[in-house]
Symmetry: C2
Subunit: 204 residues, 2 copies
Amino acid sequence: MLTLYGLTNSGNSYKPRLLLAKLGRAFRHVEVNSEGGATREPAFLAKNPNGKVPLLELEDGRLLAESNAMLLYFGEGTRFLPTDPYERALVYQWLFFEQYSHEPNIAVRRALVIYPARAAQATPERLAATLAGGTKALGVMERQLSSHPFMAGECFTLADIALFAYTQDAALAGYDMRQFPHVEAWLDRVRADPGHVPLEWTGP
Amino acid sequence: MLTLYGLTNSGNSYKPRLLLAKLGRAFRHVEVNSEGGATREPAFLAKNPNGKVPLLELEDGRLLAESNAMLLYFGEGTRFLPTDPYERALVYQWLFFEQYSHEPNIAVRRALVIYPARAAQATPERLAATLAGGTKALGVMERQLSSHPFMAGECFTLADIALFAYTQDAALAGYDMRQFPHVEAWLDRVRADPGHVPLEWTGP
């Protein structure tokens, strides 16, 4: 059986869980408390030298890191990844946008705000920088979603799964979502897509 | 003809140029001085609301952002992107590693060090954080390259193009490359792959 090593409360760990739920594929969830240092232990580093969750282990023991790489791996040949080369490239575009411009602000600010152990890192400068960067990223999403129902265009794709993971908690992380009504409406559309499961779900 | 908007000296802008050179595909290079604020001007933001180069404009005017999305778009069906699902997923993995764990440290530190206008941002804390983060990323590459000739395994792929872009300037950015002999040997293997062009090359 597939094994997903992840922290339940991590949006990155949630992404492959959400896709596997939609695809009806069974997997085993193994909790790894990355906030408590478990990803820096030798046994975990032997599996992922970059020391991050999620980590996927295939039935034959082969390993794959990076949440968005897992989405592309499982999404191939499904309704979540277009076959048209340009439409597919737009999915790639938004997956890289998510990891470069969105997650390092919104996910990081969420962690600074919600995890007590991060309090020392939650300096005014860092909170301000992630607020500004995340607000800019949400503005880019707002603009796209003001003229398209989904991030990569007309259909729900892997780009929506990736960007939903942390955008759903942007208000919790301190972003003023009243500035982004199209993003708020899109969050509801993502939740309405068949097979949706919440962040807390860790498998069948 | 394809148009690539980019800053010649940007490693991200160089990635699609290097791939197009290897593929022998003609394109028009349009210099956009992102370091001078050109990506924040309304005419550019109308093309890429995220305000970043590189930006690709297809013959019919359709646009694509994100350097690694361009690599996947042009790489499809070529020797640079495997067809085996798992081998392909490893390419994805390293492309996301590059944008999340490598570029935000090594490319950012390179910019802080080489662009005079960035001097005010080059605080001791920022230089130390990017030195630590980039050294960790280079260590992950060193470990992979100690047992494989290329980042995704046995063959040269898009992952090598993406990671070469800024690793080639890691010494300039202040990283001690004597710690990473396998990375140094890999840089030479990348330069020896057919069709290589240097960062300064902006088209035929």
